[in-house]
């Protein structure tokens, strides 16, 4: 597969953004007629790497060669001309134009100086027939399924470029049959000698289609390995950065939940296409960790619990009485809080001061007519600035000027100020510095001891081990298992994730195999 002269080679590629290293000295190699999977968690540097390869970003250091010639694509168009085409996951073609117009945008066939629809349509049919796609090319793209759009995007990229095809999570929203179809197309392109870079977080797909896999973590390359002979567990461990070794079990004693008061219970709630129905009972004084790879349904779980999305089915009860949340407002009224994953988009109100950001949820719950006095606001803000060690020169400073870790603490403070009973934290430590990281972990422990019920979503296994009293494991938009206190180690979590990703979970994981969740519903 990998031949002596690679089609595309990147050496020592480095990229910094404002002094933060996004990609550090990464080597990458793609052979003609190869499908090369690129995997890694969020922030591992996958998208930075492909953006450099496709000319969307300029690299700071490093060398890229295409067919042995050094290249330096100045922009996306330039990369296309060189032969490197890209299909992005979301920003993809124009749904308001016809299929043919999408295929020929920017290079419309002309006749007497005017664009010739007939010619474009004819050639479009010709191109798409190579992909086994026989559709009305004069219909707007919006009328077709995501799968068809994806194929059209691939057809455009291949037709424009023809040497290297980069696919950024092309299967994220496809069903099983569509994935099979897409893979058949990729096999065909591979046979034609294209080099294909394939970014995905679905493991079974890596094993089904890829010849080799490159694993990135924290902006660095971990390894490039042929898929043949690569253990699934080893792949997970490389992604999450864990050594495979037996570790001591979690220090916490197994908790007798029957003696802890139930705060809220979620029974059979699910939403079609987002997350399969699941049961979860939250007790006071526990931290339920949520583990799973990107796209496994972690955030979707939190969204249903907090009323951001409404479940199609299932029941929610708080303090034993049934409730339904049509908006976060109602969840908050029942004492829920939620720190979202995307701090910038969903968390901070960037132009408001630290003080105002801290009191926002409390003020919203009190209603506009009962304002917190300036003095109360200052007291609350000062209390949390001190308690959470929020580093800011001034409580009146707009939050956008704080570092990521301090912004995260402010959002935490926003919820703590409402004195919640159930707090959901989605990746609370992502993208923050080491000091803040440790403080947030310590804080989670403290809150649990005070009797709060917490649900913490995290990709950091060590972190989960440090604070979780049990760990819910997710894969492929399902809750696939749960680890009880005493059995929580990075290793067991990892095995549970790998077992869940494996569509037929065999009994090869030993003691780490995921326990089923049936018991939960009966409780």
């Amino acid at each position: 597969m990998a031949r002596s002269e690679p089609l595309l080679r990147a050496e020592g590629v480095t990229k910094e953004f404002f002094g933060v290293t996004a990609l550090s000295n990464v080597d990458f190699e793609l052979a003609a007629g190869e499908i090369h999977a690129l995997v890694g968690e969020n922030g591992a540097g996958k998208s930075t790497l492909i953006k450099i390869l496709t000319g969307a970003y300029r690299r700071d250091r490093g060398k890229i060669t295409l067919e042995g010639e050094p290249v330096d694509p100045a922009d996306v168009k330039d990369a296309q001309k060189l032969g490197i085409g890209t299909v992005y996951q979301e920003v993809n073609l124009l749904p308001n134009l016809t299929v043919a117009e999408n295929l020929f945008l920017g290079r419309e066939p002309k006749r007497f100086g005017l664009t010739s629809h007939r010619e474009a349509n004819r050639r479009s049919r010709e191109i798409l027939s190579q992909y086994g796609l026989d559709i009305d090319v004069t219909a707007v793209l919006a009328t077709y399924s995501v799968a068809v759009r994806q194929i059209v995007a691939i057809a455009r990229a291949v037709d424009l470029s023809g040497k290297v095809l980069i696919l950024d999570e092309p299967t994220a929203s496809l069903d099983a049959a569509e994935v099979t179809r897409l893979f058949a197309i990729l096999e065909g392109l591979k046979a034609r000698g294209l080099g294909i870079v394939f970014i995905t977080h679905f493991f079974d797909q890596v094993y089904r289609i890829a010849d080799r896999v490159t694993i990135l973590r924290n902006g660095q390359k971990v390894a490039t390995r042929p898929i043949e002979g690569l253990e699934r567990l080893e792949l997970v461990s490389m992604m999450l950065g864990r050594e495979l070794k037996e570790q001591e079990a979690h220090a916490a004693e197994p908790v007798d939940y029957s003696r802890k008061p139930v705060i809220a219970s979620f029974q059979g709630i699910g939403k079609r296409g987002r997350i399969a129905p699941f049961d979860l009972t939250m007790h006071a004084g526990e931290v339920v960790g949520v583990a799973g790879l990107l796209g496994s349904g972690r955030t979707e779980t939190a969204e249903l619990m907090f009323g951001i999305a409404q479940p199609d089915e299932g029941r929610i009860s708080v303090d034993g009485s049934p409730v339904s949340f049509s908006s976060p407002r109602e969840a908050i009224r029942h004492g829920f809080g939620f720190c979202p994953e995307d701090r910038k988009l969903d968390g901070i109100v960037e132009d408001l001061s630290v003080r105002e950001n801290v009191i926002l949820a409390l003020q919203a719950r009190r209603g506009w007519a009962k304002p917190l006095s300036r003095k109360e606001q200052e007291e609350i803000a000062d209390r949390y600035i001190a308690a959470l060690d929020i580093r800011t020169s001034d409580r009146e400073k707009p939050i956008k000027f704080l570092s990521g870790g301090n912004q995260q603490k402010v959002i935490l403070a926003r919820w703590l100020a409402t004195d919640p009973r159930l707090l959901i934290l989605d990746e609370p430590t992502r993208g923050i510095d080491v000091g803040a990281h440790a403080e947030i972990i310590r804080l989670i422990g403290e809150l649990r001891e005070r009797g709060m019920s917490l649900l913490v979503i995290s990709s950091e296994l060590e972190e989960l081990v440090a604070y979780a009293t049990r760990v819910r494991v997710l894969a492929d938009r399902r809750h696939t298992g749960e680890l009880e206190a005493g059995a929580i180690t990075p290793d067991t979590i990892m095995r549970a994730i790998a077992a869940g990703e494996d569509e037929t979970p065999g009994d090869r994981g030993g003691q780490g195999r995921a326990t089923e969740i049936m018991a939960e519903g009966a409780a």
Binding site: E90, L94, P95, N96, A139, A172
Partner: protein, 326 residues
């Protein structure tokens, strides 16, 4: 083409047919080439300007300046041909160059300052009308031979209706608009930007050049509309054509173009103009109805179409909802 893209246009066409049918049922006289001829002549300047507005709205923008540009054009022509004694053809060329450049500057500001088209063209609206005022605050009559000739040009249709020069010009502009929208790369790029600016950029659409061209085209057509208007009124008046931008926007939306951009037809705009003209004609024929009903009915149509568009967007989002990524 697919039903959902043509649906608003088809709706407009059906509304037009029903409306015309109802009018004829009540006033059989309305089925005459005379009425059709007048409909085209009376709305010629609005139609020309609305074609430009169609491109702007297709790209997801808005142009509030066209009424002022029409007024400026009229005053400039009257003053240039009268007070300054410029040859009429030269005056016409100069005014079109001026208005086109004016639009290009607005387009450049929108793109390079990354400011909303609404506020930039608002400044343009003030500026163009201010300039018109500075040229003259009086209504200045235009008395040149060229105008007399052009005003005298018409086709006599069977039944005695007159297809005037300005009416014909509007139809020509509409045809040209259709050609540009559907048979040039520029037209494709306009739709692309209106569909999704970011995707369009990734697919290699020249955003800056296209944006500037769109507003230049809109102002050029507003200049042309100003010429048509001065032919229609034989005068230039700085207070003329107030609020024409609103009528143009209404015609574009009633013509089935999505106000958020990316979908619509120039031909639909012509239908929108004709529907609005029809309402006015009906009111004139009726004699007892008052002119304000025009505005109310247009407002209602506007609301119906915006609601219809929202509904279509909502439906298609729902249809895709299940398959949306996380």
């Amino acid at each position: 083409m697919t039903s959902s893209r043509l649906f608003p246009l088809a709706t407009t066409f059906v509304i037009f047919l029903i409306a015309y049918g109802l009018c004829i049922a009540e006033f059989p006289n309305m089925l005459s080439t005379r009425v059709v001829g007048n409909l085209l002549t009376d709305n010629a300047f609005l139609g020309i300007a609305a074609v430009g507005m169609t491109f702007v709205i297709l790209s997801g923008g808005i142009d509030l300046s066209i009424g002022s540009v029409i007024a400026f054009t009229g005053v400039f022509l009257a003053v240039a041909m009268g007070d300054w004694g410029l040859p009429p053809v030269l005056a016409l060329v100069i005014v079109l160059v001026l208005t086109t450049a004016f639009g290009a500057v607005m387009g450049a500001m929108i793109h390079y300052l990354a400011m909303p088209p609404f506020i930039v063209t608002l400044a343009g609206m003030f500026f163009a009308r201010g300039m018109a005022f500075l040229l003259s605050i009086e209504s200045v009559p235009i008395r040149v031979e060229l105008y007399d000739t052009l005003q005298g040009l018409y086709f006599r249709m069977p039944g005695g209706g007159r297809l005037s020069f300005v009416g014909l010009s509007m139809l020509a502009v509409v045809l040209l608009g259709i050609l540009i929208a559907h048979f040039t790369s520029f037209g494709r790029n306009v739709y692309a930007i209106g569909g999704n600016r970011q995707s369009a950029e990734l697919m290699g659409v020249p955003i800056a050049r296209t944006t500037i061209l769109i507003y230049a085209l809109s102002s050029f057509l507003a200049g042309l509309a100003g010429i048509a208007f001065s032919l229609y009124t034989s005068a230039g008046y700085s207070l003329a054509a107030v609020g024409v931008e609103l009528d143009a926007i209404a015609a574009v939306v009633i013509g089935g173009t999505l106000l958020t951009g990316g979908s619509g037809y120039v031909a639909g705009t012509l239908l929108g103009i004709l529907i609005m003209g029809l309402i006015q004609t009906y009111i004139v024929f009726d004699g007892t109805l008052s002119s304000w009903w025009t505005k109310i009915v247009i407002g209602l149509l506007l609301f119906s179409f915006i609601a219809l568009q929202r509904g279509l967007v909502w439906l298609s989002a729902r249809r895709r909802g299940a398959a949306m990524p996380a």
